[in-house]
């Protein structure tokens, strides 16, 4: 089937523009596979992030026909409107080039809170302690979808607060209990709606708030 893929292009020092690429693709192919093919066959200067290709690394978040999604697990036939797919970089981040964004506004704040990356799983087996990486894949989609993260650069942001909520040991750094922390959230829940792995950042932020209000968390620093 023939699709028209329209990609927002941003290059250093240049004005943003939209380029259209007509491609043959199976409707079950991922948007990412199609973008990769465009970069190999039609325009080698196309910049975009990708790694795992199966929805666990968070690299390929982008805005697809107006909605934040992981391109690797989005089938082109399911999102095309009239055969057209418009791709834009995530909102709320500085654009490096084309669809690639600089996620330092999210990862750069980890130093304030140092969240854990491993979750201990209740496996129901006393002699085996199971562990897994947190389901949050740090894709940045929740930042892009969040009206506050888009307008308030100091905001710690949905995924980071959710990670703190899940990995905390009864203590949180003062920045969490501040204007830049849980109190910036307006409970729009766009983060939870758009999260591609069901991590529910919005609910986690509300849980942090409740625990702070009840005095169940010790605020440090």
């Amino acid at each position: 089937m023939r699709f028209r893929v329209v990609i927002k292009r941003v290059k250093a020092g240049g004005e943003p523009r939209f380029d259209a690429f007509d491609v043959e693709a199976d409707p079950s192919e991922s948007v990412l596979d199609v973008v990769e093919r465009i970069s190999l066959e039609k325009d080698r200067t196309l910049a975009f992030e990708h790694a795992c290709h199966h929805g666990v690394c968070g690299a390929c978040g982008m805005v697809i026909n107006g909605v934040e999604r992981l391109a690797c697990i989005t089938r082109i036939g399911e999102v095309a409107k009239g055969g057209v797919v418009v791709l834009e970089p995530l909102r709320g981040f500085k654009v490096i080039s084309d669809l690639a964004v600089d996620k330092s506004r999210m990862f750069g704040k980890y130093k304030l809170v140092t969240p854990s990356t491993l979750e201990i799983v209740d496996g129901g087996l006393q002699e085996v302690q199971l562990e897994k990486l947190y389901d949050c894949i740090e894709c940045g989609i929740c930042y892009s979808a969040c009206p506050i993260a888009n307008t308030f650069p100091e905001y710690l942001g949905p995924s980071l607060l959710a990670l703190i909520s899940k990995s905390g040991d009864g203590k949180v750094p003062a920045v969490v209990d501040s204007r830049a922390g849980v109190w910036a959230c307006h409970a729009a829940f766009e983060c939870s709606v758009r999260c591609p792995v069901g991590f529910k950042p919005g609910e986690s932020i509300m849980r942090l708030r409740r625990r702070l209000l009840k005095g169940e968390l010790r605020v440090e620093g």
Partner: protein
């Protein structure tokens, strides 16, 4: 004056090499044509090898296990360390067991046979008709985060990491590379660099890159199809207790499980699509290990091309050793150019150490590799500064 090295390739081997060389005091720049992990490394199934999969070659297995231990020590935050099970489903599998156990002992890998009831208690989604199970020290990881941790460590050691910068040409004069032409896709513009040494760490693409300098690398791009299921069906890695074959592993990490893999050989790693019959085969073979596989929705199908060493008459890639090779191009007319191929994600740090020894000797850098003992930087530090 500090000698400069250009590392080509932003997969796990490239970033580990950049880290190794920078921490020895060399001036390192890494260029990658896409984003970090955009090639083979980012698309692995995410298995921290115990070495048991390649137990027929006890030395390769020993190497894998040793690196497994090292990585757990220097970066515990990156790995789900839940172990793995090698499971016999057929009589043929069962006949492989004694050889498997003997080889594990030879390679020094701590494994333990567990009763079938215990295996099913540990992992209820395994085939209830399993005939034997052996517990092994496998682990799992998110490949991109491991790559970013090596890249962060490289940056903190002074390396410059440049994604979206593709090498498009070399100037070779007087038996050495005198300049490298790079396309910076973010501008876009081409520019030249004049490093003292060039490292080709582009894996399955190593021959394509080397050809730009008039050189050849005996790499066999060997793609494998993987099928990601929409759901996590276990904690320990599920392996088929037999010699390596199609669809003999299920790796769980984060909220998903990945069934892998097939193996064939292609000329160009850039033009590979997953054959539909490979997907069907993964589901069929995966279901033999864990029947639930056939009932789950497929979340993604993808292909990753291994950079196998292309010696011998291998046609499927399975016959090729999973060890690695450092290819010195000085005898081909480029004395400051080296390629590295083969290996596995799990052994990338070791590959970087050996390649680092080679480059350090050529450039007269005195420092030894420290990457086995120094903690790896958290991946989020890559995004700072």
């Amino acid at each position: 004056m500090t000698k400069s090295v250009l590392v080509i390739g932003g997969g796990v081997t490239g970033v580990a090499i950049a880290y190794d060389l920078a921490s020895r005091g060399l001036s390192v720049t890494l260029v990658e044509r896409g984003s970090l992990g955009a090639g083979t490394s980012g698309r692995t199934h995410g298995l921290l090898h115990s070495g048991c999969r390649y137990i027929a070659d006890a030395e390769v297995a020993r190497e894998c296990y040793s690196e497994n231990v090292t990585l757990r020590r220097i970066a515990p935050f990156l790995f789900e360390k839940n172990g793995g099970l090698f499971v016999a489903v057929t009589e043929d599998d069962l006949r492989y067991k004694d050889f498997f156990l003997k080889q594990c002992e030879r390679a020094g890998i701590p494994v333990e046979e567990v009763p079938r009831e215990e295996a099913l208690r540990l992992e209820p989604n395994l085939n209830p008709d399993l005939k034997a199970a052996v517990k092994v020290p496998d682990g799992t990881f998110d490949p991109l985060k491991v790559i970013l941790s090596f890249a962060a460590s490289a940056k903190l050691s002074g390396a410059v990491i440049k994604p979206f910068n593709e090498v498009v040409g070399f100037k070779v004069e007087g038996g050495r590379v005198t300049s490298v032409k790079v396309l910076d896709k973010t501008v876009p513009r081409e520019y030249e660099v004049k490093p003292d040494f060039v490292v080709n760490a582009t894996g399955a693409w190593a021959d394509k890159v080397a050809r730009l300098a008039g050189l050849r690398v005996p790499v066999k791009p060997s793609p494998g199809v993987m099928v990601a299921l929409d759901g996590r069906i276990g904690n320990m890695v599920f392996n088929r207790l037999n010699k390596p074959g199609d669809g003999d592993i299920i790796v769980h990490h984060r909220g998903t499980s990945v069934v892998g893999t097939t193996s064939w050989v292609v000329e160009d790693p850039d033009s590979v699509k997953p054959p539909r019959e490979h997907v069907e085969l993964m589901v069929k073979r995966g279901s033999e290990l864990a029947p639930i596989v056939s009932r789950l929705k497929i979340k993604a199908v993808y292909v990753s091309s291994r950079p196998l060493i292309g010696e011998g008459a291998a046609s499927t890639g399975r016959e090729v050793s999973r060890s690695f090779a450092v290819i010195d191009h000085s005898r081909d007319g480029a004395e400051n150019f080296v390629s590295i191929i083969g290996g596995k994600f799990t052994t990338a740090r070791l590959m970087a150490e050996k390649l680092g020894d080679f480059v350090a000797e050529r450039l007269g850098a005195a420092k030894e590799s420290q990457t086995a003992s120094r903690p790896l930087a958290p991946y989020w530090l890559f995004f700072e500064g």
